[in-house]
């Protein structure tokens, strides 16, 4: 991707030039084609969709390798064309029509999927086979003809052109002329014109556009260098900056000698009339029984499901289903529902946990079919929010599957719909600040270590904000990028690179399913994971009207399955009900949530959610839905939480502009919290139908001009006044809708999540050991580190048992009738699957007797054995001459000699190798079998396991904490509001979500031995202490405690200092690996339970001082 032109800017400029048509030819693909097609259509320009592909050399006589080196034609540089770069010559293809488009997709797919002779390179046969509907242009100076002319091999150029032309229909192959304003250009153009005349081929003038404006040439050079993993001047060594979009007059001036070449561009544009049929929906084929239609099959299944969901069946449910089925029939979406049902049914039949999410929860059909689990009638969910009969748009049903078994579902989809009909959807990875700085610095030739130093500790932000971040963020105070003289150009380039596409990624769970072979719709390529991925992202797929299914993996599903299995194994199959089938009404579960005891609970565990729980005091399932909805970036930014909580607790009265809104907003105390409520308000106040109301909501949530919004307002108010509503009340109602519509959250989505939240909370309440164990076995997931999850279990009275080769499995397990967790061996740093399997296999034969026995039977490598010894997994094994088991130091001393003996004498026989302990340190703690002090044990655990098993690291510093007058987490609840406190904790999370005021506030989640500490650092304090937070792992925080029902329990920091955890003897504890550090901000891949979602934000619940 070395094109430095934004598609929108390109089209805009072409329109400004008055160009009637424009062609986009991405390298080896059509990644930007749909976006370009839409933009061009919108601008009134004819879009010509094409690609620049790599074709094998065709013009040499015999084998090129046989020719003397001087006579060989150099291949294009290794850049810009993926693995085909430098493997062949460039050729431009343009689609004349739908057939040409399909052939182009098929050809590119064939190349990338390795079906051509050379990977990603087209051969002459491939070209000839797929040339129908395509126009071929001979390519840029890196085309074979162009390269041959530049190398002075005109005859080769002629042979190549003749061979290529034979692949296309007569008149469909043009000799491409480029005048790139280099000294060779006149000779280049003249030679090609001469050859074209001799061969009777038409000529066409083209412009090798890589950027819109001339000044953007630097970006192209940098991107090309990045693509080739080289420094500037980059692989092409461009001689000038002439690859910009030139107007027709300029092009005609450049080709003054061959005016026909410019005319040919218009002729080609006339011939290329591709209609992608945007707006038409294309569903995959579904099999229905003989005599049935997709609709009848769907209706029967839905009625059948409704009977199972509603016992007894209510008239409301019947009427609703009838209404929804009629709408589905009218919109023609029956096949889509059947496809989703088919996949979910498969998962259920294999006991793979699956739940729908998103606005699909608004549909009773989805609920009846078992796709979603939240009752749309009980939770007042509106079908029109999901499918609007007035707006035919492809429905979108996302389904979360058990993460561990998602591959089974994916395999089924490929089998069910056919390999040729399924592909994954791409995502376009763009550059953030770090990526942009790295790319720019690499291009400018800085050494790798220096590049690492430049990108390290940069916050996750847009590169456009780089200067602002460097100037304002305290954690960047000493950042090397401040050296303007050395890095000024890096910053300049990085800013220009902001948001630029880097490469195509694979969507986490998006699958494209088509009736026709998928490669007639979109080109495919092989992703890093080895799967075929379409070159289009989800927006492109939606625009093409194709079905995209989100098959997402949810680790919480895996954790719930594991926890249920562990619980059933302990207390019996019948004693543990299916958590998803439980009525969500257990007061014990709600009490647990209300006291913020939610570590590990789906969607309710983050520090902000825990704070909200203490303020909200959830009592019902509806409260959980509200909590999930309130704690989203939109509602947080709109500060909906404060009025919601104040009204809930009667601190301020519930007030609505019109009585009709009171009923609609009853559940949310007059605050428009859900998108569904916007529809209800418009219906109640202005008398809009729900479908009309949804159109209004959509119109309001998009970027609208002031005039457009005013028109919407007038329409709303007029409708309301016609119904007898007071004008001022109608205007106020609209003002509220306007203010909240953009921020409201889809209630159906929250309801779908709330089902999982309740199930996980129930398991935590009644099976805490199994639940914690399941969470740990499915890490990484959720908000907290494994260390914090384990510590939370310990605080719930669950004993944490150390790993041991004779007792631990690879995974964490539950022991002592649910009162203890045995730490598994899989988390031991550096341990291999082979050794884990050997331990399990050998232990099944008989337990390990001592270190020698262990080494001989498992063949563990020295570093693995060392880690196992240091973490205590071999404690208590064997006997020394002193009549006691060897200490860890003694085992470590014996280890090299034992390994040497085993290597020398082999592993045959069952003789125990007797080796006297080597010289080792005197035991520091003779009463413990390890011989190690608590400090050494904890340090080793933190380093090797990332967990603290023996005790919390801060327990080692208890005396010092007492001396410093530190308050522990569990004591905070009893303190009064506005008490000054001093706390010490190790870092769990440090986040800086966007706030309405635009000020930067850091929400710091710390942990001490007694619990979690939520600290808020406002901008002024953050300015002083940001670098302390970023570069340390434990802190001493002084501040004021907020402890009231309105604001919850949180410490407002005034001073933050690094805290070095030391044992009594003054030796420091190494927290590395177990305790995170680094930049503030939303960290990718860590937060939020659904793997595809960013953590929403942190709490916005603290009063700005």
């Amino acid at each position: 991707m070395d094109g430095a032109a934004d598609v929108g800017a390109l089209v805009e400029r072409a329109a400004a030039y008055g160009m009637p048509a424009l062609a986009l030819t991405d390298h080896q693909g059509l990644s930007g084609a749909v976006r370009f097609y839409r933009a061009a259509k919108k601008a009134g320009i004819r879009p010509i969709v094409g690609a620049e592909i790599v074709v094998e050399p065709v013009g040499c006589v015999g084998d090129e390798g046989d020719a003397p080196p001087t006579a060989r034609l150099p291949l294009p540089p290794l850049a810009g064309f993926g693995r085909a770069a430098g493997q062949g010559f460039h050729l431009t293809l343009l689609a004349k029509d739908r057939t040409g488009y399909a052939n182009l997709c098929a050809l590119i797919t064939r190349m990338h999927l390795g079906k051509t002779q050379r990977p990603s390179v087209a051969g002459l046969e491939d070209l000839a086979r797929f040339s129908e509907g395509l126009i071929g242009l001979s390519g840029c100076p890196y085309g074979e003809a162009g390269a041959a002319v530049l190398a002075g091999q005109a005859s080769r150029a002629e042979r190549a052109l003749a061979a290529l032309a034979r692949c296309f229909a007569p008149g469909d192959f043009y000799v491409e002329l480029m005048n790139l304003l280099v000294p060779e250009s006149p000779r280049y153009v003249a030679t090609l014109v001469g050859i074209a005349e001799r061969l009777g081929l038409p000529i066409v003038a083209t412009n090798d556009v890589h950027y819109v404006e001339k000044r953007e040439f630097r970006l192209h050079d940098v991107l090309a260098a990045a693509g080739a993993r080289t420094g500037l001047p980059g692989p092409y060594e461009r001689q000038n900056a002439e690859l910009w979009l030139k107007p027709a007059s300029e092009m005609r001036r450049l080709f003054a000698g061959v005016p026909g070449a410019c005319d040919a561009t218009l002729a080609i544009a006339e011939r290329c009339d591709l209609d992608l049929g945007l707006g038409t929906l294309h569903f995959p084929s579904v099999e229905v029984p003989r005599g049935e239609t997709p609709y009848s099959t769907l209706a029967k299944a839905a009625w059948d499901g409704l009977g199972k969901r509603y016992r007894p069946l209510t008239p409301e449910a019947v009427a609703r289903l009838e209404r929804e089925l009629a709408a589905i029939q009218q919109l023609g979406f029956a096949e889509y529902f059947l496809v989703v049902k088919d996949i979910v049914d498969f998962a259920r039949s294999r006991q793979i946990r699956a739940t729908g999410r998103g606005s699909a929860g608004d549909s009773i059909v989805a609920y009846a079919l078992g796709i979603t689990d939240a009752d749309p009638i009980q939770h007042d969910l509106l079908f029109e929010r999901f499918l609007n009969p007035a707006r035919r748009q492809m429905p979108d049903i996302d389904v979360d599957f058990d993460s561990r078994r998602r591959d089974e579902v994916v395999a089924y989809i490929y089998k069910r719909f056919g390999e040729d009909h399924v592909a994954m959807v791409a995502t376009i990875q763009t550059m953030g600040a770090r990526g942009a700085v790295r790319t720019a610095a690499r291009a400018l030739g800085f050494p790798p270590r220096e590049i690492d130093a430049l990108s390290r500790n940069l916050p996750w932000t847009s590169a456009r904000r780089l200067r602002e971040v460097l100037a304002a963020y305290p954690e960047c105070r000493n950042h090397p990028l401040h050296d303007q003289e050395r890095y000024g150009l890096v910053i300049e380039l990085a800013e220009e690179l902001a948001g630029f596409p880097m490469h195509l990624g694979t969507h986490l769970g998006g699958f494209l399913i088509t009736k026709e072979p998928v490669w007639t719709w979109a080109p495919l390529q092989i992703a890093g994971k080895g799967v075929a991925v379409a070159q289009y992202d989800k927006d492109d797929v939606e625009a093409l009207g194709l079905v995209k299914m989100d098959i997402l993996g949810l680790r919480m599903h895996s954790a719930i399955s594991d926890a249920v299995e562990l619980a059933r194994a302990r207390v019996g199959e019948d004693a543990v009900p299916e958590p998803f089938d439980l009525a969500p009404d257990d007061p014990e579960v709600f009490a647990m949530i209300a006291r913020a005891d939610t570590v590990g609970v789906f969607q309710l565990e983050s520090s902000g959610q825990r704070n909200l729980a203490t303020r909200l005091k959830p009592r019902t399932f509806g409260d959980i839905i509200a909590a999930i909805s309130l704690f989203r970036p939109g509602p947080l930014e709109a500060e909906m939480i404060t009025p919601f909580i104040r009204r809930r607790h009667g601190i301020e009265p519930v007030s609505v502009p019109h009585p009709a809104m009171a009923e609609v907003l009853r559940d949310s105390y007059g605050v428009i919290l859900y998108q569904e409520q916007v529809l209800r308000v418009a219906h109640a106040v202005a008398g809009f139908s729900l479908a009309e109301a949804d159109l209004l909501r959509r119109a309001m949530t998009k970027d609208r001009s002031r005039a457009e919004m005013e028109a919407i307002r007038e329409r709303f108010v007029e409708h309301a006044v016609e119904r007898g509503v007071d004008r001022s009340a109608a205007e106020e109602a609209f003002r509220q809708i306007e203010g909240f519509a953009a921020y409201g959250f889809c209630k159906a989505h929250a309801a779908c999540f709330a089902v999982i939240s309740y199930a996980s909370a129930w398991l935590k309440r009644y099976f805490p050991a199994e639940f914690a164990c399941a969470i740990l076995n499915n890490e990484p997931m959720g908000f907290y580190t494994p260390r914090a999850v384990l510590n939370d279990a310990r605080r719930h009275g669950i004993e944490v048992l150390p790993p041991h080769v004779n007792r631990s499995d690879a995974e964490h397990t539950v022991e002592a009738d649910g009162r203890a967790i045995r730490v598994g061996l899989k988390d031991v740093c550096g341990i291999t699957q082979r050794t884990l399997a050997a331990i399990a296999r050998e232990r099944a034969r008989r337990p390990f007797l001592d270190l020698a026995d262990f080494l001989r039977r498992t063949g563990a490598e020295t570093p693995e054995a060392e880690s196992l010894i240091r973490v205590g997994a071999l404690d208590g094994l064997g006997l020394t001459d002193a009549g006691r088991p060897p200490t860890r130091d003694e085992m470590l001393a014996m280890l090299p000699e034992l390994k040497a003996v085993i290597a020398r004498e082999g592993v045959a026989g069952d003789d125990v190798l007797l080796i006297a302990p080597g010289k080792a340190r005197t035991p520091e703690c003779p009463q413990h079998p390890s011989g190690w002090s608590l400090l050494r044990r904890v340090s080793a655990e933190l380093e090797i396991l990332g967990l603290s098993i023996s005790c919390h690291p801060l327990e080692l510093a208890d005396d010092d904490l007492d001396r410093c007058g530190v308050t522990r987490a569990r004591e905070l609840q009893a303190l009064d509001d506005r008490t000054r406190v001093r706390v010490v904790g190790v870092r769990e999370r440090a986040q800086t979500p966007p706030t309405r005021s635009g000020k930067r506030t850091c929400f710091l989640t710390l942990e001490d031995a007694t619990g979690l500490l939520d600290v808020v650092v406002f901008e002024d304090v953050l300015q002083r202490t940001g670098d302390v937070i970023v570069s340390n792992r434990a802190y001493l925080v002084e501040g004021t405690l907020q402890n009231n029902p309105e604001r919850g329990l949180v410490i407002v920091a005034e001073r933050i200092e690094p805290y070095v955890v030391r044992a009594r003897d003054g030796a420091p504890v190494r927290l590395r690996r177990a305790v995170p550090s680094g930049p503030l901000g939303p960290q990718r891949g860590l937060a939020g339970a659904p793997e595809d979602e960013q953590d929403p934000a942190c709490s916005a619940c603290v009063q700005d001082p």
Partner: protein, 138 residues
């Protein structure tokens, strides 16, 4: 004797074997030379020298240029105290090099012109905002 008389032709029919002038005057000579320079099969002497601008003799001399806005090309230039009227514009090209290195960067618009029977490469340096004579093929 005008420079156009330096090129001679030999006619076999002319028994005396005396060389005759190929061109009768400048007006007949210029279009032929232009055509020859544009011909792909001709390798110019300047290209035999591996200079960055492909000039026979590389120079870096500031000069005064009279710009013709309508043709977007130089109309005349003054070099060594002599004024050269541009007879024809042979070729233009552009140079943008080493933009990341302040010591080596080069940004120029170059014009190869025919003047007084010689071929001259004029360049406008965008950074310095001045004209240079960068090559001469005489």
């Amino acid at each position: 004797m005008g420079r156009h008389r330096a090129i001679k032709q030999y006619r076999p029919a002319d028994r005396a074997g005396q060389p005759l002038d190929l061109f009768t005057g400048r007006a007949t000579r210029t279009p032929v030379i232009l055509e020859l320079l544009r011909s792909p099969w001709i390798v110019r002497g300047s290209q035999l020298v591996s200079g960055p601008l492909g000039s026979g003799k590389r120079r870096e001399e500031p000069i005064e240029v009279v710009w013709d806005g309508s043709k977007r090309a130089p109309a005349a230039f003054e070099w060594n105290g002599t004024r050269y009227r541009v007879d024809a514009l042979v070729q233009t090209w552009s140079v943008e090099r080493a933009w990341w290195d302040p010591r080596a960067r080069m940004s120029r618009r170059c014009f190869r012109v025919l003047a007084r029977g010689g071929l001259y490469d004029l360049a406008f340096d965008r950074h310095e905002g001045r004209w240079l004579l960068v090559g001469v093929v005489d």
